[in-house]
Amino acid sequence: MNLSRKETAGTARSRERGKRALLAALPVILAIQPIAFAECPIPEDGTLFVRVDGGALVVDTSGTDTVTVEVSTAAHAGIAFEELCFDDHVEISGTLPERVYAPLDWRIRVPRSINLDLLTFKGSIRIAPTDGNVTARTTGGSVIAGDIGGNAAMITQGGSIVVGNIDGNAELRSTGGGQIEIGDIGGNAELETGAGPITAGTVTGRVRAETGGGTIRITESQGQLEAVTNAGDILIGTSGLTHARTAGGNIVVEIVHGPFVGRTELGDIRVEHAESYIEATVGAGDISARLVPSSLNGDLHINLTTNSGNIHLEIPEDLPADIEARAGRGVQSAPHIRADFPMENVGTQPNLPAGLSNSFGRGRDSRRTAELNGGGNAVELETSRGSIQIRQTRQ
């Protein structure tokens, strides 16, 4: 049964007038049969707006130059449908009865090139690969999409978000909770979920990823990166300036083309290649970092602190630095500070008379200093219980 309604406004100036006329004269409120159908022409760069009370939105992008809509449900009574067609966009809205006792899908077929602006107040959203921009919002349900050629904004109040590659910017939020999984992103990425893991491929721009609990994995961020989780690991392949924080879990970054600042309450921090300053704080766990600056100019300070754990640092042999390392120890074991270069043992209370520094006050801790290549960058390493090892590498 064909229940389609086509309407085209003549010009942009008359669009609003035409819309008002349509709303007044053609309130296309149609009772939908088990399968309903509507059709509107749309230009290649047009935009489809969909607003429905509920039900899943299923968008097929294999269409040519029209928007077609089918409603698939076994409980069709009371469903109302309205379609407005304009030169550059199409508006579709649907209302449901107070209670819908059967699954309901809005099946929408569109050309791949158009922009999509989709809203369902309750239901999942599935979108085939598309070349335009996509906005998809739902109060609950998962959002699944193929590759997207433009920008993407996807928000659900509860449910997972799984998307292929996005050529533009990406804003993906599952406010209630659900995993976020995405391929490569051509722009900036805002990824946020109340709970669940976040996984992303290569991001050309900056990344901000935050989860209430779950592991964050980013293959590459060519811009700056901020990753925050209340529980779980943060695993980064390559990134620019990096801020990473977890309440519990490991932080592992392979290559940082810039400064690194990381903090975990419980877990290890491993920075395998950092080109600028490094600040890492650990409640309990080891820290391993390697400074590999592209130039010795600029800020290359290092601050590594752990309450319980070992510290391993590698620095270039020509790095100008003022090094201070402090290691506490267990009840019996001696603190260990080892370096590839001589360090002066200054104890923990430098004002004590010579010979007493290792026996008084916090003398059971070990504190050593060194000035390398005339001094300069502050390198501060501290563990309350553990060992410190500093190695010099030739670049």
């Binding site: 909770g177 659900g178 709970a195 879990g249 267990g330 019996q332």
Partner: protein, 300 residues
């Protein structure tokens, strides 16, 4: 003899532990004392319930084995926790076992005295000094007792020592540590990792029970979500289904409620109706969850 002493006799009477004369004496007292009559009725009822009404009890088949194991573990722990300077007879707690120990010690002492009176020289064993493991640190140290004259001192506190254990997830010890971590550690990152590691073995009853407990009680929604996903494949089992239903009705996080609803699919109409009501009275109901529940009510 006052009523309190009589009531002590009533208990013995009910278990046929009272002599004939005392029994007659008690009967005579019961005839004239309402308080003791009431106590007698109460104790008799209690005895009846304990001894006669056990047919309805569901006693796990492995209760005996489990109890023996726990008893054995507890005894091991007591043995391990016993300090070298604490001899059994010095505790001052007079139990039958202590009395036996005392008798045994006295016998040993007499034997030792006779033995030492012999002129043969024997090496005297000195008690080992308390030792502290390498890399250990002390916290919450307290001085329990000290005697400046003798130099004796008793200290107490927590000794923390780094631990590194290698094993396999199939090892009971490894699983036990992970379960313990999930139930007791405050750091959410460790709990999340524990769920991830335990999930493949969720068929193990103990692990399944721990995951269900985590799904209901853990503070962190990410950990609850991970536990839920681990339990999804068991959603048709009664115990898991009850937990999922509870989560749908009570969890504050809409993302977890959504996932729980999907895991329960298809809900029975009865389950769905209850859930619909719970969602409706929620301060901020989620429309999607309500719709899905109504769809289950519709029988689809």
């Amino acid at each position: 003899m006052n009523c309190r002493e009589r009531q002590h006799d009533i208990v013995l009477f009910l278990y046929d532990e009272l002599s004939g004369e005392a029994r007659q004496d008690l009967r005579a007292h019961l005839d004239g004392c309402e308080a003791c009559q009431a106590f007698h009725r109460h104790e008799k009822q209690l005895q009846f319930e304990l001894t006669e009404d056990f047919s309805d009890w569901e006693v796990p088949a492995d209760l005996l084995v489990e109890s023996r194991r726990e008893l054995s573990d507890s005894l091991d722990r007591i043995d391990q926790g016993r300090q070298w300077w604490r001899f059994p007879g010095m505790t001052g707690v007079l139990t039958r076992m202590r009395a036996l120990e005392s008798v045994a010690l006295m016998s040993m002492g007499l034997a030792l005295g006779v033995y030492l009176s012999n002129p043969i020289e024997t090496p005297v064993l000195q008690p080992a000094e308390p030792s502290i493991p390498q890399n250990a640190s002390l916290t919450n140290l307290r001085i329990i007792e000290s005697d400046p004259d003798t130099g004796d001192v008793e200290l107490a506190g927590d000794m923390v020592q780094p631990m590194r254990l290698s094993g396999n997830l199939q090892d009971q010890a490894v699983r036990q540590i992970l379960v313990e971590a999930l139930q007791s550690l405050s750091n959410p990152g460790v709990r999340l990792r524990a769920v991830e590691l335990l999930s493949p073995n969720a068929r193990d009853p103990k692990i399944k029970e721990t995951l269900m407990d985590t799904l209901v009680n853990d503070d962190n929604p990410g950990i609850r979500l991970e536990a839920l996903q681990a339990l999804e494949s068991f959603s048709q089992e009664d115990d898991v289904r009850q937990v999922l239903k509870y989560v749908v009705e009570t969890d504050d996080n809409p993302g977890i409620r959504v996932q729980a609803v999907e895991a329960m699919a298809p809900m029975t109409q009865e389950e769905a109706m209850e859930a619909v009501i719970q969602e409706a009275v929620r301060e901020v109901p989620n429309e999607y969850i309500r719709m899905r529940q109504l769809q289950f009510v519709g029988g689809n």
